[in-house]
């Protein structure tokens, strides 16, 4: 992004053509930063909870003193691991690593493993291909078949759409597999609206047809695929009729999909994140990956599996997703013992020492982690809570002290990406408001007050000056051969960048081949060595108490719980609603606009109904990210469960009922 600042205010945000993946304008959220950076709702001074539950401004000195007193008391009583250090994926940057460095100096802490976002897919990819990397974003234009599998790029990755469009202009076919007729699906030649959670079954069924019809790349398989014979035998039972019964797709659609996959090359599968948030997801994603492998659509231009590109995550000593797993052995300082997916339950169950203090930054776990009521219970059970935030979120509202957070324009940092291969400088362009300190300064002040060693603090944290931050960043960048000056000139391709991933058919798996058969899958996760499918742990039962599947997709208007509080966004999406197919609505005597209860045994939401003819009947949808204070926090309905691999959150195993309120 290129920003214009006039008179200390951000007045304009524009795209940067030098980034080949996103040469056009920023998305809506990017534009909304013009408001967000200066929002009157922003927290611009420390807040202290009052006995009546309200918040009152307090000075930094008092805030730090209050926090330090509690930290010292609780560390003395229980040891440092009584502190929960929880971070989400808000404002990204290299400096975020300073937080954990601080807590190590403090003596340790307890933290989470796993991730809400995408780990089942990451792990499935790592097991199969050996690494999470993919062809350059613009390489998609060379595909002749694009399978957007559970991905609504038009809303969640809008910059991918021009690449899809150019591929289509050159004659590519586009298939969308999604229970919803999404904005992306409008561009599709074929939309397969399957039952949620049955993607793996569909993939195995497609594998069955590809093997049956001989639409496999025998030469590629012989040289580069491990376990094809076992796979070919295992998919034998996944006949189109059986798959149709499971997925609720017509046999003809399954056949048509297989025909496209088997005959149109090169093919890129672009999976989304949603369908890897079921209890069966890792194995499902492996089944989908197998389709790229057996058709030889890997390591070629226009072909591949465009899931996650960790080429720019060059700073992790161990690359995702492994660094989401508990370290083995535990180092005795940091206790990595809470599953992000079961945050509330695990917080309540933690003993020796129990958790008494929480420090939350860059995240809003109360509405966003599964099973919101348990997360709230977990936080309320604590003795003291500190939340570092830009806005008074649901989580900040539970805090004893809220510390104002900088925004991404107020401290220089270096950022990577999920999808494009560029490292980019995020220079400081705004002075933070007078009462706002960057996290590095918060930690320094707290460290001084706690009497931590000055030398060690100085080593862990960059100094407050711009020069000091730049020195710190330069030192981190030096091993990669990248300088800040290069980054100042524009986006820099990651040293690991490859236009075509796995070119030369080098797959960094244990066998050096694409592993349809993975011994590690069995050893690490206890799942079958081959891709497999079973029903998700929770599924709607027709005629049962909770017969509807609830989908909680993302919208173009927000990134999860961020941005929805801004007027810019509210003008477009003023209030939450539940989308329902008219057929399901009629069965419940519900009319458009009626207020309904969406509920299961875990919770209930009361929302107005909007008809969506494009939703698969049997599903309802509420976009995720609304706050409790808006009355539509969808995780009131979900349960804390892990995915079958990667310690992801399986909050999409979720059945509800809808009734007129």
């Amino acid at each position: 992004m290129r920003v214009t600042v006039e008179g200390g205010r951000l007045v304009r945000i524009e795209g940067v053509p030098e980034n080949r993946a996103t040469p056009e304008g920023p998305c809506l959220k990017g534009l909304a930063y013009v408001e967000r950076a200066h929002s009157p709702q922003r927290i611009v001074e420390p807040l202290r909870r009052q006995p009546d539950g309200s918040f009152a401004p307090t000075s930094w000195d008092e805030a730090i003193e209050t926090i330090a007193v509690q930290l010292e008391r609780l560390r003395t009583a229980h040891g440092p691991q009584t502190v929960l250090y929880y971070t989400g994926s808000g404002t990204k940057g290299l400096l975020n690593g300073c937080g954990m460095a601080f807590w190590r100096l403090f003596g340790g802490c307890t933290t989470t493993y796993g991730d809400l976002c995408w780990p089942a897919g990451l792990e499935a990819t790592r097991l199969t291909l050996g690494a999470n990397t993919h062809n350059a974003p613009w390489d998609l234009e060379r595909a002749r078949l694009i399978v957007l599998w559970g991905k609504n790029a038009a809303e969640t990755n809008v910059h991918q759409m021009p690449h899809v469009d150019r591929a289509q202009a050159a004659g590519a076919r586009v298939v969308v597999i999604d229970p919803r007729r999404t904005e992306t699906a409008e561009r599709a030649d074929l939309l397969a609206q399957l039952r949620p959670g049955t993607d793996g079954a569909l993939a195995l069924g497609l594998g069955h047809l590809l093997v049956r019809d001989g639409h496999v790349d025998q030469a590629f398989i012989e040289r580069h695929v491990k376990g094809f014979a076992e796979y070919a035998s295992a998919v034998g039972e996944w006949t189109p009729e059986r798959v149709a019964a499971i997925t609720e797709l017509p046999v003809a659609t399954i056949e048509a999909l297989a025909q496209l996959l088997g005959t149109v090359k090169p093919m890129t599968i672009v999976p989304g994140f949603g369908m890897q948030r079921f209890t069966n997801s890792g194995q499902s994603m492996r089944a989908m990956l197998a389709l790229c492998a057996i058709t030889g659509n890997l390591g070629r231009p226009g072909a591949g599996w465009m899931y996650a590109n960790l080429q720019t995550q060059v700073f992790s000593p161990v690359k995702d997703p492994i660094d989401c797993y508990p370290p083995k052995p535990a180092d005795g300082i940091v206790r990595v013992s809470l599953s992000t997916a079961r945050l509330g339950r695990d917080m309540l169950a933690t003993a020796d020492p129990p958790l008494t203090f929480a420090w939350v930054e860059r995240g809003n776990p109360i509405p966003q982690n599964p099973e919101t009521t348990k997360v709230i219970e977990g936080f309320r059970r604590l003795e003291f809570r500190v939340v570092v935030e830009e806005f008074l979120t649901d989580t900040a509202r539970e805090a004893d002290v809220v510390l104002p957070a900088k925004n991404l324009f107020e401290q220089t940092d270096v950022i990577g990406a999920y999808w494009h291969p560029y490292l980019q400088l995020r220079p400081k362009v705004l002075e933070p408001p007078p009462g706002v300190k960057p996290e590095t300064e918060i930690y320094r002040a707290l460290g001084h007050r706690l009497g931590l060693d000055d030398g060690e603090l100085a080593a862990a944290l960059p100094g407050p000056s711009e020069a000091s931050i730049e020195d710190w960043l330069s030192a981190k960048l030096a091993p990669l051969g990248i300088s800040l000056d290069q980054l100042r000139a524009g986006p820099v391709l990651s040293p690991e960048f490859e236009e075509v991933a796995f070119a030369g058919d080098r797959f960094p798996t244990p066998s050096g081949q694409v592993e349809l058969w993975s011994d590690e899958a069995r050893a690490r996760w206890g799942v079958p060595e081959l891709p497999s499918w079973q029903e998700p742990g929770e599924r709607p039962e027709r005629g049962g108490r909770f017969p509807l599947h609830i989908l909680t997709p993302n919208t173009k208007n927000r990134i999860h719980s961020q941005f929805g509080n801004l007027d810019t966004i509210r003008r477009m999406a003023p209030a939450p609603f539940v989308a329902i197919h008219p057929v399901d609505a009629r069965a419940r005597a519900v009319r458009e606009g009626d207020l309904v209860r969406v509920f299961n045994d875990r919770g209930e939401l009361r929302l107005p109904v909007r008809f969506d003819h494009g939703l698969k009947p049997g599903c309802v949808a509420i976009t995720n990210g609304f706050w409790l204070t808006e009355g539509a926090a969808v995780n009131l309905l979900s349960q804390g469960r892990e995915t079958d691999m990667g310690h992801g959150a399986a909050f999409h195993d979720n059945a509800v009922q809808v009734e007129r309120a």
């Binding site: 469009d165 599709a188 074929l190």
Partner: protein
Amino acid sequence: MGARHAFVFAPDRCTGCEACRVACGIENAAGLDTGWRTITTLNPSRHPALPTRHLSLACNHCETPVCALGCPANAYHRDAVTGAVLLEPDQCIGCRYCSWLCPYDAPKFDAGAGVMTKCTFCSPRLAAGGQPACTQACPTGALSLGERATCEPHHPLLGLDARGLGPALRVVDPRQRSQPGVVPPALAIDAWLAGGDEGAPTQPVAPPKIQLRSEWTLVLFTVVLPALVAWLGAGLALPDRAPEPVAFLGAGGLVMALSTLHLGRPSRAWRAILNWRTSWLSREALLAGAFVGLGGTALLAPHLAHRWPELAALAAGAGPFAFVAGLGLAVAIDGVYAAIPRRDRFPFHSADAALATLLQLGLALGVGTVAWTASAVTLALLVVRVRRGRFGLHPTVAVVRGGLLLAALAVAGRGWSWALLLAVASQALDRCAFYVELGPTTPASRMADEVDRFGRP
């Protein structure tokens, strides 16, 4: 000269993300919503029979800028460098007529300021060699800046209206995918055909811009003044039928004064006569003033005669001029509304002012051929409207309207004043209906009409 540049819109690429709209607000209103650019979505509930598409529109800076030509206050001008059609808020009287004329619904009313406001094409950015904020911001390349096209923009089901205005808008043809342009994704339509219980597609549409509730002063204006023209005309021929000057001036002055209430800036009402060269609304204002002023003068003449005989003679001479101005006024009233893009493209209406003036003149004068001919035309137009169904008139209203008119004809032999009163009442009812159904059309309403037609067997 029109704008050199044009907005180029590719519906295939637009995801309806609204970044263009947000960017417009950031550039032109410090982050607030200018309202200048709107995104209209076809089939937002994703009915399986139709695709879902978006249309992002602001001002198209037309070669024939009906907004500027119709603006009575000369508040519009064309930027000499960029060719953008610009509105000067200081000169705007807030009559909203430009927003009724524009088939793209580009000029917006700023209720706070009481004036119109509209897209400037980001003229300063264009002049500096840049591009508008909206095209710059579009993340998908759906909206861009390009060269003008020679043909009118068109796209199936997007509610665009080719009226030969030469808009600076090019709409890229839909790409031929495996289905033709207006077919939704393959599987959804199969499910629909198999299930068949989704009902016909419907398209939500905002209430029309012109509402009887807010425009009742205009109903009064367009009913009372033509009636006064007829009455004055009769009085010129048959002096015993001449209106009382107090009644004439009172009624005429009152409806003119009331009509300024619908202005956002009534204090600038005088500006309404500035653009008589091209604006029917300006002509209407000018002729209304002339008619009431001259008519009142003429009617006052007998009362002046005993004190200022010369002045009275001069004043009496104003009568014919007032009548001619009045006839012109009736024509101008119809001119004002004929220019509006109405849902029903039928150019004649049973509540037309000129027709009503003739009819009422015939009744007031007792000239049966005129009264009967005009009535016959009125009733025929009424029948046409009833038969045109969804754009038309409720049959009950038509029956009452027709009944009142026939009653006026029936009593014409016994007393001209009752006949005139009944005819005016009949006209008033029809004129109310006229405003209810006026619209004017917008891209959204035309989209709804297209969907409606699509849903019919």
